[in-house]
Symmetry: C2
Subunit: 335 residues, 2 copies
């Protein structure tokens, strides 16, 4: 059996024990359709199958490619594009695909594009405080009316409290989630429908207004979310090879093109990361490593890290000696 240390580097490695813990913990807290797992963090139908195996049959996607890839995988029948698009070709492909597809709309233009491309079901996306997509709560009824007039079914509302999910103080996170969800509940009162979709890993056990939570990061976790004291563990690391070592620092082959950097530098256990360049990470360890040694790098932000890689390798444990039991293609990349 190959081990983590045998992989060509840099390579994504999933600690199966941590992943199982994370998936089981979330499924216990939010069983079945109470969770609509977001695939954007892992972009991997094999990992989605693990979520399915724990009873989740509805999924959230951020891009048409994710929707189409999940539909092609053939094991779910309710996919939400929790995002706006006016791309006629992609909307038509989603309308034609072999799954129930619901898309988010928040304007006359997105309603018209969805209806014109044959989309049958929508959620009204409501802005609940994050300066991104979503209509004002009071405008939701107008959007819903226009969607219905265009022949689409309005299944309800969604509204992502993305400005809140990362707040370190739980009380503050909770209070601001309540503020956001009051707006979503208000919009839902106007729009109707059976779906109130919201939430993320940081609010999975706080948001009690949404009847489905769109969490995704919990499966693999990253260093930003780890500060919140959530019951999920780091399951994703990048294994790298030391290619240079001297008395001051070492260099391994895991750089900017193997890591999402928007949340800052990654971390290395028992090491101090100095900086990353295109193909390198420069860091100091208490004990000087040898050229050829493997190190495990914990990305600060999982989502854009995974999006650089072709595959995730499944390891029976967290260390570099753990056996690789499987490799999953990152098959939902792109748009």
């Amino acid at each position: 059996m190959p081990r983590v240390a045998d992989l060509p580097t840099p390579a994504l490695v999933i600690d199966a024990t941590a992943l199982t813990h994370n998936l089981d913990t979330m499924s216990a807290a939010l069983p079945g359709a109470r969770l609509r797992p977001h695939v954007k963090a892992h972009k991997c139908t094999s990992l989605a199958r693990e979520q399915l195996a724990r009873g989740h049959r509805t999924f959230t996607c951020a891009t048409p490619r994710e929707v189409l890839g999940m539909a092609r995988a053939g094991f779910v029948d309710d996919l939400l594009l929790a995002n706006e698009t006016v791309d006629d070709e992609r909307l038509r492909a989603m309308a034609r695909c072999d799954a129930r597809v619901t898309v988010a709309v928040d304007s006359d233009a997105t309603v018209a594009a969805a209806a014109g491309s044959g989309i049958r079901e929508v959620l009204v996306d409501v802005n609940v405080g994050l300066p991104r997509c979503g209509c004002p709560p009071e405008a939701a009824v107008d959007i819903a009316d226009k969607a219905r007039a265009a022949g689409m079914q309005v299944r309800g509302v969604m509204g992502y409290e993305g400005h809140v999910v990362g707040l370190a103080d739980r009380r503050e996170r909770s209070a601001k989630t309540d503020d956001s969800m009051k707006q979503l509940a208000f919009a839902h009162g106007l729009v109707g429908g059976e779906v109130i979709s919201a939430g993320g890993t940081g609010t999975f056990d706080i948001n009690d207004v949404a009847n489905e939570i769109q969490a995704g990061s919990y499966a693999l976790m990253d260093t930003a979310y780890a500060k919140l004291g959530l019951p999920f563990r780091h399951a994703l690391r990048v294994v790298a090879t030391v290619v240079h070592a001297n008395d001051r620092y070492a260099v391994a082959d895991c750089g900017l093109k193997a890591l999402g950097m928007d949340h800052g530098n990654p971390s290395i256990d028992a090491g101090e990361v100095w900086f990353c360049s295109d193909e390198h990470i420069t860091f100091a360890l208490a004990t000087r490593p040898r050229v050829g040694d493997r190190v495990l790098v914990v990305p600060a932000h999982v989502d854009p890290t995974v999006a650089y890689h072709d595959a995730m390798h499944i390891a029976a444990g967290a260390g570099i000696d753990a056996e690789i039991t499987d490799s999953w293609p990152v098959d939902l990349r792109g748009w």
Copy 2:
């Protein structure tokens, strides 16, 4: 003919006029083998062909995948892996491939790995101030001796002044390049060989010790290098579609997974970028755009931006109405 505004978004777009200007300007300054173009920024054999067409037949690579992809493309015969690796399988593949391949070595371990895998030619990589790979200048002769003893030819030295290339003040950049190159010249005096390889876009007309300059960013440019007053123009943008607009801001479909973020936020002409999330950029424009409008996003750092995309589309001009004349696969991604 399709136009930039017809592309599915997000998509990389090259302004052919700016690219031609950049390539011609650099070739005039550093003709033929005086430039060893670095492929790491563009990762594209089609773009490398444009460099070849201007007389450059030697290329620099950062990864074995780049070396092997360039060798497979079949139009160059001198490829430098300006980076260390101890990956036996990848070293063997480079040793076997249909091109002259030289690899950087900086330690006993990297010499042993190269020699053991059948690599025939090396450069001694010298640390000239950047805390990354490279041996101390005074150690270069020992590395060279060991490489020769292992049966490899030592073609000379390389040393990248990466801590200097981005300094905004030209006088400071120049003085610090001189300091670095004194160390490289010292090492070269010990090691011998015909190659002194160094430099980048920020020092292409400053570094007069290196007899070949490893510049790569000049072809496409990015906002970081643009501050240096270099004679190169932004040639790469990401075209995105506005999916939401209100009185305060707009949102387009170009996020963290379409942009290298280590140099900070991208920019938008005549706009103020607020922030990027996984699939979105939130920004303000003087005039409120309409949903469906295209915007052109200038990435802060080209290299990790290109590495997210499958293709670069060639446009006959800089605007969203420019015609698309070709599409080039980004075929050198990965490791």
